[in-house]
């Protein structure tokens, strides 16, 4: 992959992933109590549901914002944060599918689609995309030094 193609792929990944996280965070903020219910339905750690419902949307917003608007070092942190966040979602969705739970995903707030194999595949793709972004996103090359003629 050429440097130019890598930069373009990195930009597209940043825009897509950052936009997705911002959208998901805003959607979840609309109904935090409903989102807590969706988390509790996963039956993993129901006691943590209200805490996760309170913190996850803001984390998604911050990570999404870092991917879209911050300098390179913080973009890298955003990419790693997105990979970790989406990895947790992947484990939760995979666990729900494995246990045969018939629950709403809660991926974009309340009343969204049921958790299915498709949800797991989508989350897996997003985790891989975040890891790819971490590798592709490079700092801008420093301008060449102009040698003093004297």
């Amino acid at each position: 992959m050429t440097v130019r193609a890598g930069r373009l792929a990195s930009l597209l990944l940043r825009l897509a992933m950052g936009g997705l996280l911002l959208y998901a965070g805003i959607a979840k903020l609309r109904d935090p109590a409903g989102f807590a219910q969706e988390i509790a339905n996963y039956q993993l750690m129901p006691g943590l549901a209200p805490y996760l419902a309170v913190t996850l949307p803001a984390i998604e917003l911050l990570v999404g914002g870092a991917l879209l608007f911050s300098p390179w070092r913080w973009r890298q942190a955003g990419a790693l944060g997105a990979a970790l966040l989406l990895g947790v979602f992947l484990v939760a969705a995979g666990s729900a599918v494995a246990r045969g739970l018939d629950i709403s995903c809660g991926c974009f707030g309340t009343g969204t689609e049921p958790v299915s194999v498709l949800t797991v595949v989508r989350n897996l793709g997003l985790v891989l995309a975040a890891v790819l972004l971490l590798r592709l996103d490079k700092p801008r090359a420093a301008p060449p030094r102009v040698r003093d003629p004297e």
């Binding site: 219910q37 339905n41 949307p57 984390i59 070092r73 790693l80 709403s104 969204t112």
Partner: protein
Amino acid sequence: MSGLLLRTACLLVAGAAAGAAFNAVRPAGVGVSGFVAASTCGAEPTADGRVVLPPREALTLCGDPGVLVADVRSAARFAEGHVANAIHLPCRASGDALGGAMSRLSGKHTVIVYGDSTVEARPVAESLAQRLGTDDGALVAAPRIVVLDGGFGAWDQAGLACSSGPCPECQRHLGSEP
């Protein structure tokens, strides 16, 4: 590498702190300290008559901030359409599902439970009522648990707000209040 990990940790911690702060100041925030441990949906329905509200009667409660509407059908059925602003309470799929709903009961005086039929919603209504009756101190005042007569089908047939979108009937109801 350690710098990257440190910055990532900063992002996650700052996000969590911002979320907690925002939740603390917003009126519709989640009451994290009032969260009740999960319960089960397996309670047998009691013989005594739980209050069953016809859809039109239930509509008069719609829009009241003290009323919570809970859908006990499957996630797929919920996603297809539900009473506007209802929460999903999947009894059959999740034995712990009531826990999340319990956290929403603070400040509610009535919970309307519905399924595809009246019979489907009764066990969940009974389970909710039993839990609220046994968890002393969990809630200041236990809300009244009622069942929507005829379930979602009756609500839909009555032409009432039944999608995941905004609830125009609720808005009209609110607007007509003094």
